[in-house]
Symmetry: C2
């Protein structure tokens, strides 16, 4: 048994694909409709990473299109960067203001931003 | 920028570590308290997989210990198995009853189970 991917639910597939590719630097590797659940999925990963992110969209008519609350089950998704200052500068240019967290106690530097649905993303740089 | 891990929030760290190691076959690779947020984390992966799962626990006194609702942000976590029937037989022996989903349209066979906090896990076997 192998943990293989994380599926988040999003409310606008095009919007989320644009965010995760343009802002978060991921690559879209697959997109398809799943008629049996009335939905559509998109599968992404980051260059050089096996970690897979699946975006799950449910149409209005789908029984899985329940009211959306982000909730606490998903605490956050973690994205590692080489140079946090450079990333923050890029975010600033496109109007993304991060929530800067306190130091983790020597593990590295990190900030939080929200994805288009309000899901927290941790962007972190490990200490050398 | 590299998607590196998924952090879920859980309400009982020992209980979740036991579930993800004993039932889901993962390996605990790190556990530590994070005093700055009033919490404790555990990091796990599956043998042969780079995909990382982080369990986030917040103490009663932590400002992050907000009321817990699983929510829809995390749709599900995906676990791949070689032999779904064998996994179901193992689950049955320990009293875990899966929710069997309809066929995905030729992509494989899959079922869903809930983790101790109510987070949906997809267990799937790809077609040969």
């Amino acid at each position: 048994m192998r943990f293989h991917y994380t599926g988040i639910r999003i409310r606008d597939l095009d919007r989320s694909i644009e965010f995760y590719t343009q802002v978060m630097g991921m690559k879209l590797i697959h997109r398809s409709k799943i008629p049996s659940v009335g939905g559509e999925i998109a599968v992404l990963n980051s260059p050089g990473s096996e970690q897979v992110l699946e975006l799950n969209f449910y149409e209005d008519s789908s029984k899985y299109n329940t009211p959306y609350v982000v909730g606490e089950g998903l605490d956050h998704l973690g994205f590692q960067v080489e140079d946090l200052e450079k990333t923050l500068s890029k975010f600033s240019k496109i109007g993304i203001e991060p929530f800067v967290e306190v130091d983790s106690g020597g593990l590295g530097k990190y900030v939080y931003v929200k994805d288009p649905d309000g899901i927290w993303l941790e962007i972190y740089q490990m200490d050398e």
